[in-house]
């Protein structure tokens, strides 16, 4: 086959090729083997990596929530209380602390967490929630002045 016209020989796609490829190769700098240096292989790996990163944003939230739940269950068991009762009682007392903050308190401010557990226990026994009686006597020293309703 003979190319009749000279312009058809030209395979230059434009002056921006370097910058287009550099944008991809910058993201693949930490990949393995040819995926970090060769554009045609790197572009596939980079696209997969970006897709995984997008999907993982929701998964990270799920993972963190599961971790906080495990940590808070452990922290409640340390005070011989139940995590599910704690969550219900705190929401009834209108204490809207989320799992993240409760976990931070349990790790860094253990005495504050203990007082929250005591408050939750008092509210749970006051409301007669399922399973409070099996846990034993509620801790003393909770001064509510009739405010936990």
């Amino acid at each position: 086959m003979v190319f009749r016209t000279f312009p058809l020989f030209v395979r230059n796609r434009g002056p921006d090729e370097l910058w287009r490829k550099r944008r991809i190769l910058k993201l693949s700098a930490h990949f393995h083997g040819r995926s970090r240096n060769c554009y045609s292989i790197a572009v596939r790996a980079v696209h997969r990596a970006l897709v995984y990163a997008t999907k993982a944003r929701a998964l990270k939230k799920e993972d963190m929530r599961a971790l906080w739940d495990a940590r808070l269950t452990a922290a409640c068991e340390e005070h011989k209380f139940s995590y599910s009762l704690m969550r219900e009682s705190l929401s009834r007392c209108n204490i809207l602390l989320n799992r993240k903050v409760l976990t931070d308190l349990a790790i860094w401010e253990p005495r504050s967490f203990k007082s929250l557990v005591k408050l939750a226990w008092s509210r749970a026994s006051q409301d007669g929630l399922n399973g409070v009686k099996e846990l034993g006597e509620e801790p003393s020293g909770v001064i509510t002045r009739g405010m936990i309703k």
Partner: protein, 180 residues
């Protein structure tokens, strides 16, 4: 970090050795509790990095299976060779190795992931109270037993028997008939 804070961090992250007395306990109930300590799920600082602790179990030959499980529970084993399948009753296995029933209960209560073997390596089971001194030196905590152990009548001291409140007493000439 100040000296106090360094010591506090070291004590927080150190691997703790717990003791568990398995006398007259249900191995399957105990397994749920023990595997939590092996995984580190009893700590508010639990994380995907290894936070598990050691557990030393004593008196494993005196575990109590519920109901007729001693006669009915079977453990399957296959050697890998043809005709190598065998079913062993719980009482037979206990006679051969008194630590295995509890060990299998704990192993099977865990999830089948790659952490399992590491956690099982941190479990030390002894059939009676003879534990090597190097291991007993490390133990600093005792795990509360799920089942209460009743006290036998002959385990009460004479003082306690005398001090116990009495409502009535048999007359002197009363004959207590023995039931055959």
């Amino acid at each position: 970090m100040s000296i106090y804070k360094r010591a506090q961090q070291w004590t927080t992250f150190t691997r703790v050795w717990h003791l568990f007395d398995a006398k007259w306990q249900n191995p399957f109930e105990s397994a749920k509790i023990i595997q939590k300590y092996l995984a580190g799920l009893h700590k508010p600082i639990y994380g995907p990095s290894d936070t598990g602790d050691h557990v030393v179990v004593i008196n494993s030959k005196e575990i109590a299976l519920p109901g007729d499980e001693w006669q009915k529970r079977v453990y399957f084993h296959h050697t890998g060779f043809a005709g190598g399948a065998s079913w062993t009753f719980a009482w037979e296995l206990h006679e051969k190795d008194p630590t295995l029933v509890l060990k299998k209960a704990i192993y099977n209560s865990m999830k089948g992931n790659l952490y399992r073997h590491t956690k099982m390596e941190r479990l030390h089971i002894y059939p009676d109270a003879n534990v090597p001194q190097e291991i007993l030196e490390n133990v600093t905590n005792q795990i509360r037993r799920p089942r209460l152990i009743p006290k036998r009548l002959d385990e009460y001291s004479e003082e306690e028997v005398e001090k116990f409140p009495k409502l009535i007493d048999y007359p002197e000439d009363y004959v207590i008939q023995k039931i055959k």
